[in-house]
Amino acid sequence: MTAWQNERTVEDVAHGIRRRVFEHTIRNNGGYLSQACSAAEQLAWLYHDELRLGPPTLPMIPEPFGGVPSADNAGYRTGAGYNGPAAPQYDRLFIAPAHYALVAYATLIETGRMAPEGLEMFNRDGSSVEMIGAEHSPGMEVHNGTLGIGLSTAAGLAWGRARRGDTGRTWVFMSDGEVQEGQTWEAIQAAAHHRIDSLYAIMDVNDQQCDGAMSSVMDVRDIKAKIEAFGGVAVWIDGHDPDAMRRAVAIPHEGRPLILLARTDPARGMPPLMARFPRLHYVRFKSAEERARMNREIAEALGTDPVSLEDA
């Protein structure tokens, strides 16, 4: 048993993710808090249970920003090493909605792949732990901040890996908002056409996007029917139920990508957050009073202590 494996349950890891993101958001007077509510079980399940990953290859405390890729930057590397080495037998994971980075970083900490100090570097100038995950940020391998490109990139990687005989899968954590981008459908049709079945995705269907509820911004209708019409295999699951994820990933999908549609609650574990509905994309408290109240009420909901704001 090593640092990146432990006896905890997925539910316990998910609770830890929520707590870390909550504490961070209160301390910094803002953050992608709702994304922790909706995605905690999905990322906990991926990292703790489902993904076959090797031990991390990069320092537990992230190194500062080391420059962007260029012919002159010989020492450049991505943050993929937090997911372990890119070996043929291991899985790869892209976090397609890069603004979930805070939640992804919290997951790395909860699964022993990054030191808690890493989160203190979040969104600090000169840090690699960026607010919108960059490819040099912990756990990231490609830039995904522009929504819709993740699944295409993963399809290409999966095709290439299968061609080379790799047994590892290529996974994408997606968000429902990005299905508004036509590229998502281009990617699914290409993956089906080329029979790329080592491609897997789990999509956080929380019905939220920057402007508010998706149904009010641009209704995407029946995502499952659309995925299947484009040639993929899709299954609806309860996005807070790890057992449902375990059953869904076993569904046969020969020659087709498998996409788990995880229906989620954007305030799961933190019901007081619904006072902000439908503006949940990025939570910034409007007043000291609201911040103090959220600190008290969400801490109570999570069964933890409020964050000390004396030094905040």
Binding site: P69, G148, G156, L157, R161, A190
Partner: protein, 334 residues
């Protein structure tokens, strides 16, 4: 009349791909139009049809690059950057994937009008960090473009000529090295792509009129050998004229202007090309005349630079080659 070579890309790509197992052939529904239909038929295991879905194709190619492959993307140049610009930057350029973007029908070499004519591609590609930009000007350069592009440790955009292509040079592209085609001391002419053939036509007439032209052909637009250009500028009396199959903003005219300004060169520069305009559909010869991209336009530009008229008319220029519109090489077809 130069020797005309039929479909030089077809055999050149096949030979390069067969010698390089990590090279893949990608197409976006323009397979015969990009001269890779025979490759598709002979080597289906090396060919990936990505359909009319360029946004996906560019990100997908980024994924193939991440897996260690060197995909060659084949479509019209315009479709490699206008629609999928975000994917070009995020999935290919930023991470320096070894993706080779083979852009066919550059500028007015297509009669397809605005939607098909890549007239600002060099400007766009030049401004993207990590991108290498190459352009072919004859059959020999088309024959060597695959090896040249594939030698680059990073992404490459190449303007590729297709169909019936004249052979002007007898040595392959050396990335980063401009060709010195004439060594005169009065005016420096800088061209790339199909503009080079036009400048060669104009040169003979200008010689007869007593003007000594120095002529450079660029096949490597980025990175650019500024020192070599400055040496040539220093060797001519009057100044520089550029002619390009592209808008005059951001292309080789701008490249020369930037180089001169950076070095504080006080000589005159005349930039010829599409002047802040789109083109419409028509034959290549018609479009080059209409928009001032041909040999005669170059002569007039040089006259403007030196302040002298040489009395050169169309009949004094070497015969333009005539492409049969409906020939088997599909010179005009889409």
């Amino acid at each position: 009349m130069p020797e005309m070579v039929n479909r030089p890309y077809e055999a050149a790509f096949e030979a390069h791909a067969l010698a390089n197992p990590d090279v893949l052939c990608l197409s976006a529904d323009l397979t015969s139009s990009c001269e890779i239909d025979r490759f598709r038929d002979n080597h289906p295991d090396r060919f990936l049809s990505l359909g009319m879905a360029e946004q996906n194709m560019l990100s997908f190619a980024g994924g193939l690059g991440l897996a260690g492959f060197r995909p060659f993307l084949h479509t019209f140049g315009v479709f490699l950057y206008r629609r999928p610009y975000d994917q070009l930057v995020a999935s290919i350029a930023y991470p320096r994937r070894k993706v080779r973007l083979m852009g066919f029908l550059p500028g007015v070499t297509t009669p397809g009008g605005m939607t098909h004519q890549a007239i600002e591609d060099i400007s766009v590609m030049r401004s993207i960090p990590n991108m290498t930009v190459l352009e072919t000007g004859d059959a020999t350069e088309v024959e060597s473009i695959c090896a040249a592009a594939d030698s680059i440790d990073g992404p490459v955009y190449a303007r590729v000529l297709r169909g019936s292509v004249p052979r002007l040079f007898d040595t392959p592209i050396e990335v980063g090295k401009m060709r010195e085609l004439a060594h005169g001391g009065d005016v420096l002419v800088v061209t790339a792509g199909i503009a080079t053939e036009e400048a060669m036509r104009a040169r003979a007439a200008l010689d007869r009129a007593g003007l000594s032209v120095r002529h450079l052909h660029l096949n490597t637009i980025k990175p650019f050998d500024a020192a070599a250009l400055l040496d040539h500028i220093g060797s001519v009396r009057h100044g520089v004229v550029t002619l390009e199959n592209h808008v005059t903003e951001g292309g080789i005219g701008s490249l020369v202007a930037e180089t001169m300004a950076d070095a504080g060169i006080g000589k005159r520069l005349v930039r010829l090309g599409l002047r802040d305009t789109y083109a419409h559909g028509g034959s290549r010869a018609y479009l080059m005349r209409y928009y001032g991209l041909d040999a005669l336009a170059l002569v007039r530009g040089i006259e403007g630079l030196v302040g002298e008229e040489f009395g050169i008319a169309e009949r004094d220029l070497d015969a333009a080659r005539i492409d049969a519109v409906h020939s088997d090489v599909k010179a005009e077809a889409l």
